[in-house]
């Protein structure tokens, strides 16, 4: 399927260039990688409608070992059946948000969406617990204890929950992000 690169017309590329933070090379590379993953041989690849299922998508080397791979796919998927499958445009969206030149605003917005496991718009205690588990737990025995987890979440809330409502909302989250300089350089996925 490598020969499909010609499908992406010049107009398409320049349009994507205007709509995302990606350069021409990056878009073409993304298209190449995407068409490699795309295996539905019955229909040819159409950037708008062809979708790669979540399982297949998470096999991408850049995502494979990412603890948030499922969340990332779900957040960026525009699939109507909500199965986390990505079209090429969604894929570009993903790369754009994770690219070098994306603004802090965009990055923190998507980071928030990724961390917000239940999609309710705030990071509540459950979301935070899931986040910590994603980032730490390997097996049952090395998990943080219940007590430690509680304490940790309390610390987090104490630190960032400015209005003391027990959850971290987007503006509070962005406040935290703007004060942690490593975020921009680490919230990055490059093909």
């Amino acid at each position: 399927m490598g020969g499909n690169t010609s499908q992406l017309s010049k107009e398409n590329v320049s349009e994507y260039q205007e709509l995302t933070f990606l350069t021409k090379q990056e878009i073409l590379l993304a298209y190449k990688r995407f068409s490699e993953l795309y295996e539905d041989r019955r229909s040819s690849l159409d950037p708008r409608t062809s979708r790669i299922p979540l399982q297949k998508m998470t096999e991408l080397p850049e995502l494979r070992s990412n603890p948030f791979k499922h969340r990332i796919c779900r957040v960026f998927s525009t699939s109507e059946v909500k199965d986390g499958s990505l079209s090429f445009e969604d894929f570009l969206d993903l790369l754009s948000a994770f690219s070098d030149s994306a603004t802090l605003e965009i990055k923190s917005h998507y980071a928030f969406c990724i961390f917000d496991d239940d999609n309710d718009g705030t990071l509540n205690r459950k979301d935070l617990e899931k986040l910590i588990n994603h980032l730490t737990s390997e097996s049952e025995d090395t998990k943080l204890t219940r007590n430690e987890m509680e304490q940790l979440i309390n610390n987090i809330l104490e630190e960032s929950d400015i209005d003391k409502d027990g959850t971290v909302n987007l503006s509070e989250f962005q406040h935290v992000i703007s004060r942690s300089p490593d975020f921009v350089s680490s919230f990055k996925i490059v093909l």
Binding site: L19, E26, P67, K82, D83, A111, E148, N169, L170
Partner: protein
């Protein structure tokens, strides 16, 4: 009612209201922009939200009051008005708040604005799917309106800004495409109306420029050196190790620039004019020169001495003296500017804004590397993160337990280790100085007659210096084992500062020796210094290779084979970066004495990159601690600038201003100092007419101390002003923070009050629920419970209608009062509904209130509230108002109609609604009460917003 169990929580407005006053626009931008909960999303999936949607849909189909509303002929205008007013007010509010935000960029505003709109839209439709409350076309209209607003705003921007703004919208590509196509369509239609050649032309020019810009960017990316390797490194070792390689690459760029400048303006003209080096016949290339830099090289363009002082007069005249001086001066200035710019930028983002508390949990969580692609590295990183999180917990607990004696002993250890390290650095400096003196005595003055052995002896000093640089830092690391600082960061800083001291002492001593001893005694002293620097650079490179072999390979072997306790070494970013900085300083100092030294430096850095990469991947493990990579990088840049670049600059400046150039060689022979070249040139200019301004600049500006004095004063003034601005901003931030906290406290207080209120009427809702279940849910049954509910709702609607009627009828009621009266009415109605429910339980036969909206349920009101404002006709506006005021006073005992009070009401209303739903009801907890409460809450919310907008 199970579907509503979470709806209060899911309601973005719930999380929104506390920020109403401060940053409302930013509040819950999360939702809806992306698919998961977007109101435009289609139902019918296996996903949770889809399921919820369907359940809600079911619930609302049964809901009586809603059905009731939609069948009433009077009501549609209300709905329309409601929506209409809100969305008309929107843009104004946004514009106002946008105007108040001075410093944010246009595109950021745009994003916020769009998100603000979607947020508000969503807070209007709390459950995420509005279609059960409003007809579909209304919703579509609203969405279209918002999009239109966005498009309008985008049209107002210039092309470049627009592209940036569209890029920064947090939407999917498809939505962006839609917005963009609309903007473009509008633009093109406008253009076709007023087709001007000029506009066309400028459009095409700007398009070409954009094309060109993106082409350049792409080319730059294609040229990007080592991109794949960098990705691999960051995938395995994370961002903190990557900083070393980024730094290395950055330095390489500096050297390439330096090489291009020096080669282009000094070497090429010289070679063009005089291609063959004039080497004495008795000097031949012996091989050792590559290490020592003496002999053969001494007569080439490598060193200062090989350059001519003539003015080449071919087709163009080229003044070698001037070229040499200006090239080096300009290069130094360029370096300084580049350093300052990059340093200032990263300082701003990494220090001024950054959180002072290190190692906090959020910092750790936010700095998760999405770059990491290696499975093992990710696992290791997770483990490390867990350890770090645990440590941060224990540190928090431990911090208070430190006793005085512990504190004292720690202080003593600090003092001792600082004392020791300083002594060590001083001792090293002194020994290097005496070694230099010894070397000068030992070697014969005439370098041309040196034997191989004598030539090799020149390597002694660089060897010792590099050995010191290799070994002493290891001692320092050893100190760090005993010398514990409260945080990891401080530990690193201490190590860095000690190493910097050491390197500064050594370089300082060497420079003193060159300036003071060599410059007085040796004939062609600049070349000698150049050779010494050459040797230092070469030997330093050899030692760097050895260092990475011994430092990393051996400790890897020891760690894996002999002493597993020590473990595989980590890549010490700080030490390695300091080595790079040291090497770069040598190159900077040497730029005057050996203009082609950057070539050497380029080779060195290039090889070093691969060497370190191999050593890293074979010998090292990812770092245990996720240090603050960005801050470390800032520190390194700052270090490179402050002691090292400034030191090198001052040495070069001192050399060219104060030292006498050697008499027999080099471009400046015969001058008092190198700067004299400029003076001579100016002197020649005096004969040429039309160049008076150059002379004037030279006389009045460059040579005048008053000019520098004034410049310094101005800079100081600017610094002071900016300092004050910073202080002011800090104060403002503190104030805003306090305000947020205050709002939070208000909220908590109200919640508590509400809670106590609810507990004082225990099981009311439960009973109500039971009753409702018993009686059934359909309106045609005419059950008292649902009727009283709906009558309360009717009351609310009535109030609303009155209010609307007042406005549309032109009755001169002050806007804020009428809005609050509407609100109060809604609240009142709601409370009555609750009370009614309770009462109905007490008197099961109840009262059959009328179903029509106009005959008001006055009796219940009288009995329930006792103090109602009289059984007047509620259609009569003043009466309603009066009642409202009374109710308000009763409810709050309050006196003001300020916006904060309204907000409180909103909070209460919503809270009540939530309480209602949180109480564990039976599965058939009836929808009507819930949805009516919901509607009221929304009403209240909208009122609050209206009033809020009016208030501003």
């Amino acid at each position: 009612m199970t579907t509503y169990n979470n709806s209060g929580y899911l309601n973005p407005a719930y999380h929104d209201y506390e920020t109403l006053e401060i940053d409302r626009r930013e509040a819950p931008a999360w939702l809806g922009v992306r698919a998961p909960q977007s109101p435009t999303a289609q139902p019918g999936g296996d996903d949770a939200s889809g399921g919820r949607w369907q359940e809600e849909r079911q619930g609302t189909d049964e809901s009586i009051p809603l059905g009731f509303i939609s069948t009433q002929p009077q009501n549609p205008p209300w709905q329309h008005n409601l929506n209409h007013t809100t969305f008309q007010i929107d843009p104004d509010a946004h514009d106002r708040s946008a105007a108040s935000q001075i410093s944010s960029s246009m595109s950021a505003n745009m994003t916020l604005r769009w998100r603000g709109v979607s947020a508000r839209r969503l807070s209007l439709f709390p459950t995420g799917d509005p279609s059960h409350l409003f007809p579909e076309d209304v919703i579509r209209n609203e969405l279209d309106n918002e999009e239109q607003d966005l498009v309008k705003e985008l049209i107002g921007l210039s092309t470049v800004d627009r592209i940036q703004a569209v890029r920064a919208l947090p939407m999917s590509v498809r939505e962006k495409k839609h917005v963009r196509s609309q903007v473009l369509a509008f633009k093109s239609s406008k253009q076709s109306q007023q087709r001007g050649c000029c506009a066309d032309c400028s459009e095409s020019v700007s398009w070409t420029f954009r094309r060109f810009g993106s082409g350049l960017k792409a080319a730059g990316q294609a040229l990007e050196l080592w991109q794949g390797t960098m990705k691999e490194i960051s995938g395995r070792f994370g961002t903190s190790v990557l900083t070393y390689f980024v730094f290395l690459k950055w330095l390489l760029m500096f050297n390439v620039l330096s090489f291009l400048i020096n080669f282009g303006f000094i070497t090429v003209p010289l070679l063009v004019y005089d291609p063959s080096p004039n080497i004495p016949p008795n000097v031949s290339f012996r091989g050792l020169e590559i290490l020592t830099g003496v002999g053969y090289f001494n007569y080439t363009v490598m060193y200062y001495g090989g350059h001519s002082n003539e003015t080449f007069a071919g087709q163009v005249t080229y003044n070698m003296q001037l070229a040499y001086f200006l090239t080096i001066a300009i290069y130094m200035v360029l370096c300084g500017l580049a350093l300052i710019v990059s340093m200032a930028g990263s300082f701003r983002s990494n220090y001024v804004v950054a959180d002072p508390s290190s190692d906090s949990a959020w910092q750790l969580l936010c700095s998760w590397d999405f770059n990491m692609t290696n499975e093992r590295a990710v696992r290791q990183r997770k483990n490390n993160l867990r350890v770090q999180l645990k440590e941060s917990l224990s540190e928090n607990a431990q911090r208070k337990l430190l006793t005085l004696s512990e504190e004292l002993s720690r202080l003593c250890v600090h003092l001792a280790s600082w004392f020791l390290s300083t002594i060590l650095a001083l001792g090293c400096g002194a020994s290097v100085y005496y070694l230099c003196l010894y070397e000068a005595q030992m070697l014969a003055a005439d370098a041309a007659s040196w034997s191989l052995l004598e030539e090799a002896k020149t390597l002694l000093v660089p060897f010792v210096v590099s050995l010191i640089n290799l070994c002493v830092p290891l001692f320092y690391s050893l100190f760090n084992k005993f010398d514990h600082y409260s945080s990891h960061r401080r530990q690193i800083y201490a190590l860095v500062v000690r190493n910097v001291f050491l390197k500064m002492f050594i370089l300082g001593v060497l420079c003193y020796y060159w300036m003071d001893v060599v410059a007085q005694n040796v004939s062609c002293w600049e070349s000698v210094v150049g050779q010494a620097l050459y040797r230092l650079v070469i030997v330093d490179f050899l030692f760097l290779m050895l260092g990475s072999f011994f430092g990393e390979f051996l400790s890897n072997v020891i760690g894996t084979r002999m002493l597993p306790r020590i473990g595989v070494p980590e890549f010490d970013v700080a030490r390695n970066v300091l080595e790079l900085i040291y090497a770069q300083t040598l190159a900077w100092i040497g730029i005057y004495f050996a203009p082609l030294l950057p070539v050497l430096q380029i080779f060195k850095l290039f090889l070093l990159f691969y060497l370190k990469k191999i050593s890293l991947t074979h010998n090292c493990q990812p770092p245990q601690r996720t240090g603050r990579a960005a801050q470390m990088q800032t520190i390194f840049t700052a270090l490179l600038f402050f002691p090292f670049f400034v030191g090198a600059l001052s040495i070069v400046a001192y050399t060219s201003w104060s030292l006498t150039p050697s008499e027999n060689c080099g471009p400046f022979r015969g001058l008092n100092n190198s700067f004299g070249a400029v003076a001579v040139w100016i002197h020649t200019l005096e004969d040429i007419s039309g160049s008076q301004w150059v002379i004037w600049i030279y006389q009045k500006i460059i040579k005048s101390p008053i000019f520098y004095f004034i410049v310094t004063l101005i800079i100081l003034m600017f610094i002071y002003v900016f300092w004050q601005v910073t202080l002011g901003r800090k104060e403002l931030i503190a104030l805003l923070r306090k305000q947020i906290v205050k709002e939070g406290k208000d909220k908590m207080f109200l919640l508590e009050k509400l809670h106590s209120l609810q507990t004082s009427h225990p099981n009311a809702t439960n009973k109500q629920a039971n009753q409702q279940q018993r009686i059934g849910q359909f309106s045609d049954r005419r059950s008292p419970g649902s009727q009283s509910n709906s009558s309360a709702l009717v009351q609310a609607l009535l109030a609303r209608q009155q209010f609307e009627g007042d406005l549309s009828g032109g009755v001169p009621v002050p806007a804020d009062i009428s809005t609050s009266s509407g609100l109060i009415q809604a609240m009142l109605a709601y409370q009555r509904a609750e009370d009614l429910n309770e009462d109905l339980y007490r008197m099961p036969d109840g009262r059959l209130s009328s179903f029509a909206p106009l005959p008001p349920p006055t009796r219940p009101r009288d009995e329930d509230r006792g103090t109602a404002g009289g059984p007047g006709d509620p259609v009569h506006a003043p009466g309603a108002l009066e009642q409202a005021m009374q109710a308000r006073q009763r409810a709050e005992g309050a006196d003001d109609l300020s916006s904060s009070a309204v907000m409180m009401q909103v909070i209460q209303a919503r809270q009540q609604e939530e309480r209602l739903q949180w109480t564990p009801g039976p599965p058939h907890n009836p929808a009507p009460s819930g949805s009516s409460a919901l509607i009221q809450a929304m009403l209240a919310r909208q009122q609050a917003q209206n009033e809020f907008d009016d208030g501003y």
